[in-house]
Symmetry: C2
Subunit: 152 residues, 2 copies
DNA sequence: CGAGGTTCGTTAAAACTTCAACCAACGACG
DNA sequence: CGTCGTTGGTTGAAGTTTTAACGAACCTCG
């Protein structure tokens, strides 16, 4: 072979590992903080997406795509959220295969309580720790990643 | 209340979501790429840490800390890696409670095969997509996060 | 129309992670 | 020395996610 592996240089290596470790710690922390509401960050993100949608509902497939989750995973999670009465499922009239996941009043209300607390956590453990420039760079980096990897 | 929640402004919101989505996609991609070697990114990271350690071995607790994992999770994962003969456990003489996790020859060899492929994935789907400055910012951001959240 | 491919969502089982409890060994201290 | 609190690691059960397969509904096209 003419060109060997292009290893990461030492600085890149350090940055990459910082990202892996920092993300693990951050997600664990945010999860912990949400536990008092009986939610994990994954549940929380589902509720948020629903709360922002027209009529506070989304089709399962659409929701799965926005969260980059498998449909199967979403089915299970929404099943739990439904058991907790935070979400309701209704069938879709225009496409009989389809299912709407809709935020209940209780779900919306729980979200209203959890959101300020969660956002404060995101600030305290991430946003407020770094310069606006560096945080903006974070956004650019992961926009590029998402763009590159594409839908699925 | 005098001071309401300090919500994220629109740009921060966008950056935060880009990070969540981008990370989900990136990890899924890297996992996919490693599947051909029968590994997930978590297994891979374990093997790497061992490969870099003196005598290619680490104490279980030390390894768990470096990966920010629970000891229980590590016990299970190393159990599987041991069943696959990629890792071997030996008891520690100086501390009889202790257990060394040690990379086997097969484990090291698998890593040698997987590493170039994995690194290429990290480059292609992250490092090479962004400016060195932005990538460096990523490192700073997550250093700050790790530093802030602390050991455990 | 209707055959054949695709999408939507679910299901059951397997794989993995978390949770809670536990035991053995260590170490500090009276 | 012996007690007590801590650390290292494992265990089994419960909970979550992945995998693979499936059926129903949709869509295209002859």
């Amino acid at each position: 072979m003419t060109t060997g592996t292009r290893w990461l240089d030492s600085e890149q290596q350090v940055a990459w590992r910082a990202y892996l470790l920092g993300t693990a710690r951050l997600m664990a922390k945010l999860d912990d903080d949400l536990r008092q509401f009986g939610l994990g960050i994954n549940d929380y993100e589902i509720l948020v997406r629903l709360s922002e949608a027209p009529e506070r509902r989304l089709r399962m497939a659409e929701l799965a795509d926005r969260l980059h989750q498998s449909r199967s995973r979403l089915t299970h999670t929404v099943g739990r959220l439904e058991a907790a009465e935070l979400v309701r499922r209704t069938s879709c009239k225009s496409d009989k295969r389809g299912v709407w996941a809709e935020l209940t009043e209780a779900g919306f209300s729980l979200l209203e309580h959890a959101a300020p607390y969660h956002v404060e956590g995101v600030r305290e453990n991430l946003v407020d720790l770094v310069s606006p420039e560096d945080f903006a760079a974070l956004g650019r980096v992961f926009d590029a990643v998402s763009e590159h990897i594409g839908q699925r």
